[in-house]
Subunit: 559 residues, 2 copies
């Protein structure tokens, strides 16, 4: 076994709050927020490197993800967010190279995935939450720094003879601009591919007017006018963005899970979610409980429930559990998803949330958050099985967990209390996958008419109907259940983790492709490959040799 | 440097002929052809493994590619092709594991790419050449064997208690069904993803009715009726396929290039193509000459020119040169593309071919071949620069080479004989990329109106216009030309081969995705990653340990 060098010693935790930020400063000027990157180089997530030149590690990214989320939930008045740097001459140098160079493969890959997700959330805030991000590049934006800018809706570059945008990864480090960079260059900004080729091999990057001519930035302003011009663009966005209807914002509070060890298992208990890790079996069980109260039917009730609102709370918790699994439990290969509670209750909460979402921005934000967490599950490199047992509530939003799973097992029983599943309006649109389709449409790519037909199945159904309609994979009876499920779990846990990751990445996303799927499949897969290559990470590889006086040595064979 | 263990000792050659096949038998029964896989296990491409159970290596695949191409060119009367096995109980066991286990990373990746291309050519023959392939699985089709079946238009499986389809790669070898398998399962056949998940982890595969119910095959027939039922389906395809118009077929003759060493360079001379390899600089130069005679204006003239027809000959030669570069010159990182001749001549040949293609199947086949060769260039893991110099003829079809290149350099000169470029109808449709768009549409993804405007630029243009219209990357003048081009070449050749492969794979294919781009980007990238992982290819990895009594050992960390 490879030594997990560079993996954080302490478990990584993903909750934070602006009052605890070390690397970002969030301030407000009415409808314009400012998010200033001022990385404290003495506070890396783990020892061993210094975060020079506004370079980032996972700790910096966790704060950014928190800021993007909080702006959406707590600040409905904000319509434009200016992202700039607290350090003049340097916007952001990208991911810290020494951190990357000393990290395990699994950590690097998961770090890039989280960073990619945060970039997409920022774009979603522009598209769906009417919070428009402007990158104000008051210095050099290189590598991940420019990738962050690419995720913004507008990019302004200071024209001062030194500020530039650049992708030095390929020429200097023998890796890729892999947190969406290459994809956003040619697919989002549609930069001509030959210019993109030149740009991506030019370590020093491109400045001034040429950066604008090539489509790398939207505006170039002289230093003396820079702040005023950026503010002018932010103000224009404010003017063209309508006010949000529904009520005041919501300050998200800490989830405060309790963690304990219980007979060799590590158990994390949240309010609605329980995560139980069985390290010996390499299996985790995630149990999501349904709502226990009445749904919020008005904007006032929604705000009264606030952080206790079931959809909001349960999916924030699930998100935290997924990230915990990804970063702190790398040897867990299989996640069993279960639910507990009342399916009708879930569907009542679904209907109430969807009814509110038409006119209440906060209800819409909660929906978007549920959709993001479901995507996070789709994109997690662990196998997922759903087991549908008595007492479960795989209905509506929670039925999405069953079809997000690689397989599902539903107990077929004649007894009272036999499990049921049910669809709701949540199954047919509000929770799209990265490919832009619903999970049902992806599942039944060959049978679009079947998906339409399913919309008429309003009631709860037992295993036989669910199997017949293709909504579950297997429906063993009481006699077979225990053995079938046990054997399936043991078999899955015995397969190569890498082959499963590759297999699942290909089987989960049939159908159309989007910028999102391109980033996670094409770009990430190539970056993962490169992160294994001796030319990058070998003893004389470019990533290893970075900052040393000697040159890297390459094996010149092209693959 | 890794020892190139397992790389073929002798250069691999890609030309063959049915009379020289060792592994396939091609026979004809009027409009129905039979392609029988009967692998001679004692004739692997190189020593060290035995091709048991109809398993294949590159040698077997070269013959298949040849058969698929010859059926299209020489046999316009063939409307259905039945693919079956000469060995009862075993259709095909897929790629030979011992060959894979003992091959270099670069060879494995290029082998899979070639196999993927051949599968796509077979599908194109069904779609565009009205030659419909039926897989008749008279035995077990596993791994690449089932992937070959998936490429056929129809799959019939014998119901005899043992014939099955299976993907044992993940459970047995810790790699992927990577020559299109996973993608064809969920994207082409649209198999439900949970069923695809079960299927892809079940080493023994799936037989009989269940294979049909899951959509893995189209028909299941009892052994006693199998041949008759398959023939019935072939006959039905024959009946529904119209006869081809234009004239008789064409027997493709050997290209017979001459190879010599010339001052440290390896030079291959074909009729219209010259390939010059500079191993020390790790640079190859490919020069394509324009036509030297009059174009064929009638079907009779086309057949008279036959193997000498310029488009056909030049692009068959270019194809051979590309494959030579991929397999026999792995350390060559950069290909400089040049042309020589008369641009007006190229465009006259383009117009004549396109005019004929409306009514002559052979002209259409030539067009499809040119399109395939251009895709082969797009998909080659080498950097490509085009240099546009005096005496060149980057016009029409040959201008595609310049925009297929990662960059182009055009000499800007006031002198007589300054280079010109020109578009033709070939630039606007007949030669789509893998993403389904023309190279111009991909290049100008941000400016679709510009592509329409370019269609009105009928004449040849100099460097200034070409630069202005975005058709070339750089246009240095006489003073700068030599230094600019030399430095660009040296710089490119100095960069990490792996980072460049990943970068180019992301920058070359902006815009929409197709099954083809999914196979080459998503699936191949993941497979390449897995081909590097210790869990597959390490000392105790599954691919290494295959066939040994001990079990593989896995590092359980998920990535």
């Amino acid at each position: 076994m490879e030594r997990p060098a560079g993996a954080p010693q302490e478990p990584v935790r993903f909750e934070t709050h602006p009052s605890r930020y070390k690397h970002w400063k969030l301030s407000f000027d009415g409808p314009v927020a400012r998010l200033v990157m001022a990385v404290d180089d003495q506070h890396p997530l783990r020892d061993g490197y210094i975060l020079k030149l506004n370079s980032y590690d996972l700790g910096v990214d966790i704060e950014l993800a928190d800021a993007v989320t909080r702006l959406r939930f707590a600040h409905p008045e904000v319509k434009a967010v200016i992202v700039s740097s607290g350090t003049d001459n340097c916007f952001c140098a990208g991911a810290n190279i020494y951190m990357l160079g000393s990290s395990t493969h699994a950590f690097k890959v998961n770090f890039c995935k989280f960073t990619n997700e945060t970039r997409l959330y920022l774009e979603e805030a522009c598209d769906k939450s009417a919070q428009h991000y402007l990158a104000a590049l008051n210095g050099v934006a290189s590598g991940g720094g420019y990738e962050l800018a690419l995720a913004c809706e507008q990019i302004a570059l200071q024209d001062d003879g030194s500020s530039a945008v650049s992708f030095p990864e390929t020429p200097l480090l023998a890796v890729l601009p892999g947190t969406g960079g290459l994809t956003r260059l040619v697919d989002k900004r549609k930069v001509r591919r030959d210019l993109a080729d030149v740009f991506s091999t030019l370590a020093e990057g491109i400045r001034g007017k040429r950066a604008k001519d090539w489509g790398l930035v939207d505006d170039v302003f002289a230093k003396s006018k820079f702040d005023a011009e950026v503010k002018k663009r932010a103000d224009a966005l404010v003017t063209s963005t309508p006010d949000k209807q529904g009520g005041p914002g919501l300050e998200l509070t800490d989830l405060e899970p309790s963690r304990k060890e219980d007979g060799g298992k590590l158990v994390t208990d949240y309010r609605f979610v329980r995560l139980a890790i069985d390290p010996a079996a390499r299996v985790a069980t995630v149990t999501v409980r349904g709502p226990d109260g009445a749904p919020a039917k008005t904007s006032a009730e929604l705000r009264e429930q606030g952080n206790s609102h079931w959809h909001l709370r349960a999916f924030r918790e699930l998100d935290d559990a997924i990230l915990d699994l990804r970063f702190n439990h790398p040897t867990i290969g299989l996640v069993i998803v279960k639910t507990e509670g009342d399916g009708d209750g879930v569907r009542a909460h679904d209907d109430a949330l969807l009814a509110l979402a038409g006119g209440d921005w906060l209800a819409r934000e909660i929906l978007l958050l549920v959709a993001r967490v479901m995507k996070r599950l789709d994109l997690t490199a662990k196998s997922v099985f759903a087991t549908i047992e008595p007492g479960s509530c795989f209905a509506g939003t929670l039925f999405e967990l069953a079809i997000a799973a690689d397989r599902s097992y539903m107990l077929a029983s004649e007894e009272d209390g036999a499990p049921k599943i049910a669809l709701s309006k949540m199954s047919f649109g509000p929770l799209p996958m990265s490919n832009g389709l619903t999970r049902l449409a992806t599942r039944f790519l060959a049978r679009p008419a079947h998906v339409e037909e399913l919309a008429s199945h309003a009631g709860a159904m037992g295993a036989e109907d669910a199997l017949e309609l293709g909504l579950v994979t297997y429906a063993p009876d009481d006699i077979d259940w225990q053995d079938d499920v046990r054997i399936a779990i043991e078999e899955r846990a015995s397969l190569s983790p890498d082959a499963l990751t590759g297999m699942e990445s290909n089987l989960r996303f049939a159908g159309p492709e989007t910028m999102e799927t391109k980033i996670f499949a094409r770009l990430s897969a190539w970056q993962n490959w490169i992160f294994q290559r001796p030319n990058a990470v070998g003893e004389r590889g470019a990533l290893t040799m970075y900052g040393r006086p000697e040159r890297p040595e390459f094996d010149w064979r092209r693959t």
